[in-house]
Subunit: 217 residues, 2 copies
Amino acid sequence: MPTPPETPPRKRGRPRHLEPSAEYRERLEDIVTVAAEVFRKQGYDAGSLDDVAAALGLRKASLYYYVKRKTDLLRLIFDRAITTALVDVERLAAIPDAHDRLVALIRHQALLVLADPHHFAVYFDQRTGLEAEDLADIARKERRYVHHFITAVTDAMDAGILPDGDPRMVAHSIIGLTSWSYKWFDPARDSAERFADTCVALVVRDKRSRRRIRPAG
Amino acid sequence: MPTPPETPPRKRGRPRHLEPSAEYRERLEDIVTVAAEVFRKQGYDAGSLDDVAAALGLRKASLYYYVKRKTDLLRLIFDRAITTALVDVERLAAIPDAHDRLVALIRHQALLVLADPHHFAVYFDQRTGLEAEDLADIARKERRYVHHFITAVTDAMDAGILPDGDPRMVAHSIIGLTSWSYKWFDPARDSAERFADTCVALVVRDKRSRRRIRPAG
């Protein structure tokens, strides 16, 4: 690691008592991004810290300054995905109108996955490599995440803009509809915005046409 | 391998010029089923032929009679999934009515994945382990598979029972909606039949209500 000459020599790694610098955090973000690409391509078990270092153009000793074990990289990949997404979903969950909230959540999920399909391919497909404690933490955050979808789906059913059904089942179905894109989406021919619109059009019913089908009295 | 005493000694493995016996094929099916469970749980790279043999209660030498390399097992897992599913979908593709055909394809896909979620978890998530030639063969079959969904979606749009959109995008979206279940479905609380009904209700529009929305002239 290049170190300014006036800095006294210190142990490898970031001192625990200091906040990480902006530069450190930015570098770590790059490492997590590239690690997700390596694990997507090779699989988590087959991809090594050496492969990640090589893809970054770093020596392994330099990578080691940021992460000590491959499983730390996997935890960071999962953490980034669910933490950012949960903040967004909690913001959208505050939208009062049932129609606007459901549409916002569907569009959010569709665009989220397509903004970084490699990252989400690792997130969705490679969790066997996570340590038990990390997996429990991710599962906890995912339950909060899905909870917001279930609430939105329940309200949308009450408003007559989704067909009736088991809200938990419908919430997971909508997450599947909007998340599966990392398996087939081709940016050369498909548009992310159009995909988000398609997902909304496929499941969300028009309020007025539903009202006409169920006349009052 | 137990061999009747009157059989002359021969090389390991099934002779190439003979059709496999019913017993051989049945045993191989069991091996493929158990291998998918092992790979689902441990990941393909981490799971070994030893693990598969142990899960079957076989010695590795006995497993070797059926498969020589781990990648053969993976190919067999993929082959079973897509070959059976493709036969079913080609049968359903012959249904003349657009509504009945779309409903049949949606229900087929929803029930297919839930009939063996471990198997499809490997199929959907662990293809990095496939050899290039096998992957090309699977991809060819998948294109035929998706083609039937695209045709059904196009006809359903013409019939006014699906909102208009890019048929390829909508076909993949419907496959995502119906396939994602292996990630969340809990047989202790969810019913596969109810899930299939939910998928149909979520996307397929009622013919008559659509006609009323678009009056002639």
